[in-house]
């Protein structure tokens, strides 16, 4: 028996060691591409250049049991042949290539993966550097819990960024850039017609949005002064087309409201030209001053045309056309002045003053033609101005190599001006509202390094805001942070604790939130080719907020919304290399929100704070969303030839809600591939 106990203890100890063990395995990404590359890391010499490359081509497959929409929302890998990953590096060996000295290309998921990525760099020392980043994301989200799934989206977003720097190593540099961000695809939206108490209808949208940005700039260095200026132009357009089949059904079968035709167009065009300037001067590494100034002038012009035919909720025949046009503008000015003083190597003192002013204006003319009445013509105007001034002072003192102290104090003041009016005719009566709020926050902390591989740090922050803008904003808050890190060649261990508590109270309502995070992770690499890692994370959040709402025309006040989340995450991984020929990886991630521990839809919570007798059942207990999400993964990669690898992998996803199981799914994904280097 004693032997058995000892055996158990040793297994527990080994398990604990493994759990908190300590290495550098990558965080568990999706199963493919294979991280191991084909070919020699030294590359091959061709003329004056050295070339390294590795390309992985394979077949990805999947099978889903359960809610496919939720799977596509969370994971979205499909079937088919892919260029799972690839890299190419071409370097001039003497750094004096004729046209270029470096070419770098990395690709991922090309061919039809939902997440595709490609980056390219070409540069010639001292002459130019060109960077390209291209990305594509297939986004699918049924949003079942939002609007009952009627805000479904299936879109593709593509983004590309081009940046060219001329004379990159000189004291006078020139920069040019171009970015493009486009989104297209199908979506659903909802709306009401003829009456805000009428039925809700779902309609289709063909989403077509695109943004382009052009920018030029220059950087100048003169003695110890660096000056940089950028001029940019951003343009955005939205040509989404909305429509619905003839005679769509509403969401409520008992509603008399009906719709036989809708047509909606709302094209939008906008541009945002901007300036950025940055100046920095440094002397003998002791005193640095830097200033930054930005200005932009955002503007959007829009037209809204909505035509509908049907019956209102009382059964009367209706046709209505709404025409609306107008502009929105947002000039933004930002300025920073930062002073950094390092009187000795032990002291660093900084002060930053920031000024930010944004003013959002919008005005539009609304016209409505309606067979039910004489029609409407309204003028709308809105103004929202935010001006923030903040000053932050930081001090860091390191009296000894093993100990250091730091602290900062911040004062921020914000003025918010607001006006909003809708009138039948000009001049509109605009009564601006204005309010100020001020926030003071201080942080202090220390860091220790009693021995070289061990680092410990503590910090605490306290903040006070005299008049936050929202009931859930930060008002009286404090935060604690602690971290311990131990890192040597074979082991690493990291643990940290963070908490954030905020109370935002007024005479009738109180919002309080408490968040606590504790995590530990580590890795162990006992010898070359063998690595383990593992970790645990606990994220707690509870918030308590005052509510006021109508239930059957009765105003319910001083009710409470209590939200509770207790999120536990574990992850572990092991990697082995067998005779430098076979690489095996196995990993596991499990995330579980245990909430308040319940496993059924029955309510529980904090009866001590839920005292309102007219509370809806919805709010009588804690709002929780207990869910478990786990994903084991396994991968093997075999060297077939010096330049060829065979790879295969499998990853399983299991999503399981505890209360309603409408979105549950389990899915197997996998791939088989060859990695080749030419």
């Amino acid at each position: 028996m004693r032997a058995l106990l000892q055996s158990c203890r040793s297994v527990q100890t080994a398990g604990l060691l493994l759990f908190f063990c300590l290495s550098d395995l990558p965080a568990q990404p999706v199963v493919a591409p294979t991280p191991q590359q084909a070919g020699s890391p030294r590359g091959d010499n061709v003329g004056d250049y050295n070339i390294t490359n590795s390309w992985e081509v394979g077949y990805r497959f999947h099978s889903v049991d359960g809610n496919i929409g939720k799977y596509r929302s969370d994971v979205n890998f499909g079937n088919g042949i892919r260029l799972l990953g690839g890299s190419l590096g071409v370097h001039s060996r003497d750094g004096k290539g004729k046209w270029f000295d470096e070419l770098l290309l990395d690709v991922r998921g090309l061919g039809n993966d939902p997440y595709q990525f490609s980056s390219f760099r070409a540069q010639k020392n001292a002459l130019y550097r060109y960077d390209l980043l291209w990305r594509s994301n297939e986004y699918f989200n049924p949003a079942l819990t939002i609007s009952g799934g009627n805000h479904f989206l299936s879109t593709n977003r593509q983004m590309q960024d081009h940046d060219l720097t001329l004379l990159p190593q000189s004291k006078l540099r020139f920069r040019m850039g171009y970015s493009n961000n486009s989104q297209g695809g199908a979506g659903l939206s909802t709306g009401q017609w003829f009456d805000s108490r009428g039925d809700e209808y779902t309609f289709l949208s063909n989403i077509r949005r695109s943004q382009r940005e052009y920018r030029v700039g220059t950087d100048i260095e003169w003695r110890k002064v660096k000056f940089s200026v950028t001029r940019g132009w951003e343009a955005f357009k939205d040509d989404t087309v909305y429509g619905t089949p003839t005679s769509p059904a509403g969401a409520n079968i008992n509603d008399n409201n009906s719709l036989s035709l809708i047509r909606r167009n709302e094209p939008l065009r906008g541009r945002t030209p901007y300036w950025r300037a940055h100046l920095q001067a440094e002397t003998a590494n002791v005193f640095t001053v830097q200033g930054k100034f930005t200005h932009s002038e955002g503007q959007r012009n829009f037209v809204y045309d909505d035509f509908a035919v049907g019956t209102d909720r009382l059964g009367g025949a209706r046709n209505r056309q709404i025409l609306l046009s107008g502009t929105g503008s947002r000039p933004v000015i930002t300025g920073y002045l930062t002073l950094i003083w390092r009187p000795t190597t032990k002291w660093t003192l900084t002060n930053q003053t920031a000024y930010h002013n944004t003013r959002m204006n919008g005005q539009g003319r609304y016209s409505e033609l309606n067979n039910g009445d004489a029609g409407l013509s309204l003028v709308s105007f809105q103004d929202l101005g935010i001006r923030t001034l903040s000053n932050t002072s930081d001090a860091a003192w390191q009296p000894q190599k093993w100990v250091g102290f730091f602290g900062n104090y911040q004062y921020a003041e914000r003025r918010i001006r607001s006006a909003e009016i809708t009138e039948f005719e000009l001049p509109a009566r605009v009564r601006p509202d204005e309010q100020f709020n001020r926030q003071k926050a201080g942080t202090g902390g220390l860091r220790l390094q009693p021995m070289k591989p061990l680092r410990i740090s503590f910090s605490a922050e306290v903040g006070r805001n005299d008049k936050p803008f929202y009931p859930t904003s930060d008002k009286d808050y404090h935060a604690l942070n602690a971290r311990l890190q131990y890192r040597v060649a074979k082991y690493n261990f990291n643990t940290d604790y963070r908490s954030f508590t905020n109370t935002n109270s007024t005479s009738l309502f109180v919002h309080s939130s408490t968040g606590r995070t504790w995590s530990a992770n580590g890795g162990w690499a006992p010898k070359a080719g063998i690595q383990f890692d593992g970790g645990y994370s606990y994220i707690h959040l509870d918030t308590l907020t005052g509510l006021a709402y109508f239930a059957s025309f009765d105003l319910v006040e001083r009710d409470r919304s209590y939200y509770l989340s207790n999120l536990h995450t574990i992850h572990g991984g092991a990697q082995f290399q067998i005779r430098k020929r076979v690489d095996v990886y196995a990993g596991y991630v499990r995330t579980q929100d245990r909430a308040d521990g319940r496993s059924t839809a029955g309510q529980s919570g904090r009866p001590d704070v839920l005292v309102n007798p007219s509370t809806l059942a919805l709010f009588t207990g804690a709002q929780v969303f207990p869910v478990a999400y786990q994903s084991p993964v396994a991968r093997v990669s075999v060297v077939l030839h010096r330049n060829l690898r065979w790879n295969a992998g499998w990853q399983y996803y299991d999503y399981s809600e505890r209360l309603l199981r409408l979105q549950d799914y389990s899915a197997h994904t996998g791939y088989v591939s060859l990695s080749y280097s030419f």
Binding site: P114, I146, V225, G291, G362, F436, G463, T591
Partner: protein, 318 residues
């Protein structure tokens, strides 16, 4: 309290004046790094062939190739300092600038001798990372990088997860930004080298979040359709930022929302309480026609579809 509108100009003027004053000063006395103490990079190849043979791939190789690079910034000694003493004493970490022997501050100073020219590192001295002794060599590996592009020691997300384990957990949730999938990286939203104070919020939180087009939240870099300006702005987006309703790293809830159901996302602010909101008389409650006892009214965005801002309706109905 009122501040003049010319404050940005005053800032700029102060910066220009300070810069001119500093530029007029001598660039510093001749330091201990006298040129006669340098041995040249060729001397290093003799004892460090494993580094030297592969160094042509390293972006720092250009410092040894370009003819006009100052000797104190060229080749191996550009980072490690004069090497003649190291050669004369036949090695030893005490006779050269070995980064493994440097304090974090010394390592930072060594890198910033060349890498301070970029704007995105302008705030590195006051970043939370620097305060916590997380400096260049904590994330970058010059001689054994995972990629030659930015010389990070590992894939970027793995570098960050190494300390931010709780963030790794958030990216393991069902609803998340696609960082683990390789579509985006931490630095799409964060600047680990330090940022200016986030003026879309009051305090220093959130930490190290980069800015979009003009000091706006990093979210707007990609979600350009939410940028506006709109005729009717949802003030929450502009005053307290996207995190008012969303958890940017990951969430168990759809669309990164902070609550599992829509109505509490909205009602927790729209409760008419206190002196909150645009008119400082409480954020508007819904009207009596919104019967929360009827499940039909609990999905607020079914009707208020343009919740990020609208050009057609002040209550975001269209």
């Amino acid at each position: 309290m009122s501040f003049p509108r010319a404050i940005p100009l005053i800032f700029s003027l102060l910066a220009v004046l300070s810069a001119c004053r500093l530029a007029a000063q001598p660039t510093g006395a001749k330091s201990a790094t006298a040129s006669d103490a340098y041995a040249g990079s060729n001397a290093c190849r003799t004892c460090h062939p494993n580094v030297a043979l592969q160094f042509f791939r390293n972006p720092h190789n250009k410092t040894g190739v370009l003819a006009n690079t100052p000797v104190d910034k060229a080749g191996c000694e550009g980072c490690h300092g004069p090497g003649k003493k190291h050669v004369d004493t036949k090695g030893g970490k005490d006779s050269i600038g070995a980064f493994s022997q440097m304090t974090p501050g010394q390592a930072l100073d060594a890198c910033l001798r060349c890498h301070s020219k970029d704007q995105n590192r302008a705030n590195i001295r006051l970043s939370n990372h620097t305060q916590a002794n997380v400096v260049c060599t904590s994330c970058h590996s010059i001689h054994q990088p995972e990629s030659n592009r930015s010389l990070l020691s590992k894939r970027q997300a793995d570098v960050c997860y190494g300390c931010h384990n709780d963030v790794r957990a958030q990216f393991s949730l069902p609803s998340k930004h696609r960082v683990n999938e390789g579509f985006m990286t931490c630095s799409d939203c964060h600047n680990p080298h330090g940022t200016n104070a986030a003026t879309w919020k009051m305090g220093r939180r959130p930490h190290l979040v980069d800015t979009g087009l003009n000091n706006e939240q990093a979210c707007m870099k990609c979600h350009v359709d939410k940028r506006g300006p709109f005729l009717y702005e949802h003030a929450a987006v502009r005053v307290d930022g996207c995190e008012s309703c969303h958890s940017p790293h990951g969430s168990v809830n759809a669309r990164l929302l902070k609550r599992p159901v829509i109505l509490t996302v909205c009602l927790e602010c729209h409760n008419g309480a206190g002196s909150f909101g645009r008119q400082a008389d409480g954020v508007t409650t819904q009207s009596a026609s919104h019967n929360m006892a009827d499940p039909r009214y609990r999905n607020c965005t079914t009707c208020h579809v343009r919740i990020h801002g609208s050009n057609a309706d002040r209550t975001f109905l269209r």
